[in-house]
């Protein structure tokens, strides 16, 4: 059933506040009568710490892979879960990501390899900063790409149109458009109702512009989320989220999407990928990376299942600041490298395919003779999602300084 945005606004306004009590943004939204259906949602996921893309999307068809990684290489597919899960006869998924294989087969998951930031830095901090600002090499960019990605002229919008999961506001979502940091939807309120009203007027009147701006956004969102907090949430379609903060974040994003509260972009991160030491355990398919990936894959699979048909409106994109050295190091791990992989999931994705040109792993093909070379700029991927999924064509202001080398066709036009 397709509900128009207008109907939702009216219903929500009545249900939550009664006629005449609707908050400012809602009255404005109703008056403006925005046309069209429910919002498209772009969910960005950051794997902090530089995930080892060569062990996530395994180039088992490249013989050099096993020369470079004698101890930690994931074996070529043999139909078991002790080896890579075949994708296309050349690449395979780490077996811990097996829950994503059905989504890949259904055509809703696309993978891009040898993708990343063209900036050469191997500093986590800088590389994350560049990727999140969307301006590799430019430290001065004050705001984040996902904030700028919000369509500029969409009229009145929800106070929860942009949500960063966690107490800190993600760098990707900082900027001129209102964005919210939420660690737990149910706690998102001042527990003393009288105190809540008072703080709202106190901060509203304050001349401390940074604080009063944040407070205004906060209280508008608090009101909107009140209804949602009263209903207990259970995942749909038998989806089972694993334990952990990342799964929690995805579940809350699913909850916001299903509640139709006007969210357009969301950001979640997951850490622990900096596997210098003991990346693999007793065998290459065990150990730290395998454990992290199992949780990562199960979380994403549960998210897709929970949303069911709503995935038609949703695109999830994953990224990590840089890849890791093509060669294993002396500690059954890998050090900071260059190009990596990305994933895009969603109803509109032309999946079931690994995109990008494979640069090869021979000594002279490696970046600085040590890392996977870059053949796709991460902004090629993100800009396509921004333009075709969110419907924001102004790529030059989302990714300033980016010339654009064309879309890769991840989304059907």
């Amino acid at each position: 059933m397709q509900r128009t945005r207008r109907v939702f606004m009216r219903d929500a306004g009545i249900a939550m506040f009664g006629v005449g009590l609707a908050p400012g943004w809602l009255t404005r939204a109703c008056a403006a009568e925005p046309a069209g259906s429910r919002k498209k949602v772009l969910v960005a996921i950051f794997q902090r710490g530089a995930v080892d893309g060569l062990n996530v999307v395994v180039p088992f068809g490249d013989k050099r892979y096993y020369d470079l990684r004698p101890a930690i290489g994931i074996p070529a597919p043999d139909g078991s879960l002790n080896a890579a899960v075949d994708l296309d006869g050349f690449f395979g998924l780490h077996p811990a990501l097996a829950p994503l294989k059905p989504i890949y087969d259904s055509g809703q998951l696309a993978i891009v390899h040898a993708v990343g930031s063209p900036d050469p830095t191997r500093s986590h901090f800088d590389a994350q900063d560049y990727m999140e600002s969307g301006t590799p090499g430019r430290k001065a960019t004050a705001d984040g790409w996902l904030n700028r990605a919000l369509p500029p002229d969409s009229g009145p919008h929800s106070p929860v149109r942009a949500v960063s999961l966690g107490t800190e506001m993600a760098r990707s979502l900082r900027g001129p458009n209102e964005a919210l940091a939420v660690s737990n939807l149910n706690d998102f309120k001042v527990r003393d109702p009288v105190g809540s009203d008072l703080y709202e007027s106190m901060y509203g009147a304050s001349r401390d512009t940074a604080l009063s701006g944040t407070a205004r956004e906060t209280f508008e969102a608090v009101k909107l989320l009140e209804t949602l907090q009263k209903q207990p949430y259970s995942a749909a379609n038998g989806a089972k989220y694993p334990n952990g903060r990342f799964a929690q974040s995805l579940q809350q994003i699913a909850r916001l999407i299903k509640a139709d509260v006007g969210m357009e972009v969301a950001f979640a991160d997951v850490g622990g990928w900096d596997t210098h030491v003991n990346e693999v355990g007793a065998t290459p398919v065990q150990g730290q990376l395998a454990n992290l990936l199992a949780n990562f894959g199960e979380s994403l699979a549960a998210f897709c299942r929970d949303l069911g048909d709503r995935m038609a409106d949703v695109t999830v994109v994953t990224m990590s600041e840089f890849g890791r050295t093509a060669r294993e190091n002396g500690n059954r791990g890998t050090d900071h490298g260059h190009a990596n992989y990305m994933m895009a999931l969603g109803g509109g994705i032309r999946g079931g395919k690994v995109y990008g040109e494979w640069p090869g792993l021979a000594e002279e093909q490696l970046y600085e003779r040590r890392d996977l070379s870059l053949t796709t700029d991460f902004r090629d991927i993100l800009s396509e999602l921004v333009a075709r999924h969110l419907g924001n064509p102004k790529i030059a202001s989302v990714f300033p300084g980016y010339a654009g080398s064309g879309f890769r066709g991840l989304l059907g036009s």
């Binding site: 001065a140 107490t167 703080y199 007027s201 106190m202 009147a205 944040t214 030491v277 500690n331």
Partner: protein, 620 residues
Amino acid sequence: MRKLLAWTIRWSVLAALVLASSPASFGAAKTSPTALDYSAFGRKLSKEEQILQAVNRLTFGPRPGDVEEIRKLGVKKWIDLQLHPERILENPALAGKLEPLESLRLTQADAARNYPNPQMIRAIVAGREPMPEDPVTRAAVQSVLHRVRVKRDMPESDPLDPVTPLEDLLSRDQIRALRNGTLDEKRAVLAAIPENKVDDVVIALPPGLRFQLMPAASAALRRKLMLMNAPQQLISYDLTEGKLLRAILSNRQLEQELVDFWYNHFNVFLDKGADRFLVPSYEREAIRPRVLAHFRDLLEATALSPAMLFYLDNWQSVAPNTQRGGKGKQVRGLNENYARELMELHTLGVDGGYTQKDVTEVARCFTGWTIRAPRDGGGFFFNERVHDKGEKVVLGVTIAAGGGKEDGERVLDILANHPSTARFISRKLAERFVADDPPPELVARMAKTFHDTHGDIRAVLKTAFTSKEFFSQGAYRAKMKSPFEMIVSAVRATGADVDFAFPLGNRLTQLGEPLYRKLEPTGYSNLGSEWTTSASLLARMNFALDLVQNRVPGVKVNASAYEADTAGVARQILFRDASPETQAALEKAVADQREKNPNQAARPGWIAGLVLGSPDFQRR
């Protein structure tokens, strides 16, 4: 339009950086023409403002009486005293409060041996280690083992020690009082338990009740309850407790500020493997004694510390192609993690002028800087056998072949004396103590002091604290409090009695700053702008109202100390008048309440809570 304006102001500081570094500003980087204006740093403060500025920057916020004391002593003298903590008589209450926190005093080896940690549990499961002797530790380890075995579907190899049921240890009335009694009733029951039965009671209590009883328990009993409930968290408990108590109670406030600053500068993540028991000695022996020393000494202490060697993996870094002794013929190699963060975060700064080649060369210099048996809490050890003896070139300086441990020391010399380090450290200190975007001239003067004194931290800080910029309108109340500063300053302002501080640590997590748990080597930010988020703001407001209504366990505020008039309460908390807007909101709060409940006076504690949660209190 209003939104655009608000945004422009909010981001003007960052926009200023855009302009400063690239004249061809682009796209979204809108900016106001005043963005580059440091003129507010030329406008002076009144005498009274100077006192508040000093006390808000060099301490975790004034306690009742502090402002008068500084006025009496004179601001300059007081600052000088804070710069020499050894001349300040320490608060006699502090030592007593720290006394039960045993793990903070243990050597790393004893901490590793005496506190259950995942490694120890694994060793006991595998039968490599015996069960601990102490009854509560033993019971705690057994209950963890039980959970592990159930989870892994393993048989119980040896039967659990029998648990005496609570009913056999306490009367029904006593048990009822523990469950549903008042705080005083609970206290009385706990205090009446004979000494030889305490351990049995701790073991017999259900886990939920153990947590509920903490506010009623003595410090020693509380640790037993904590040990039984979460044995692997006891060191974290002690660390959190110790850090909060020092920040709240110590008279050597600047020293505590600096311990927080330098710990975050040389951050180590508590939950990484052996760092779970290496952190207490790291903070105690490497950081705390050197917060006002020469930078070179502090740098070396961190470089030699097992906690840092473990956190940034240097302990495993060896010369390429070194053969490992023992059975596994594994080839180990260079690990660049420490070398990179050493230059990027500890010394030169990311723009300090080093290359990937320098990172590799520095990593080679530090090969062999390792830990003897890290899982058992061993100390630093230079392993000559795995050291790369070849020639290295670091930042253009040749380090001759054939060296040993001194190769690493040489690198520390080069880095500590590098002009980029002087600038980077000076700017970071200015960001913490002066303003998020400190005037470049001030940073340059601090860097000059750094250079002239070979990195004397005390001298660099003195340059900052005696500068005109420090006592200027540009710096006055310009910093947003970090969550740690907010919570500690609230407890200090209310003069709250702190029985135990761990619940404050849980609140800190909600505000976004779980102590000792910043995973990234950057540490927590010194920039106020990092802490202005919706989630954090709501958590601050909730904390403020809970604190004064005594809903934070372990902390007691005397709410009756607050006068009935709002202006007076505001002055008691802020040590100055509230802004007119905040004052008006407080008056409206009282008027509204009077209208609704004419017979009931406004709760003074509640008004104090509103002040603690106000925009005025979020700045320092």
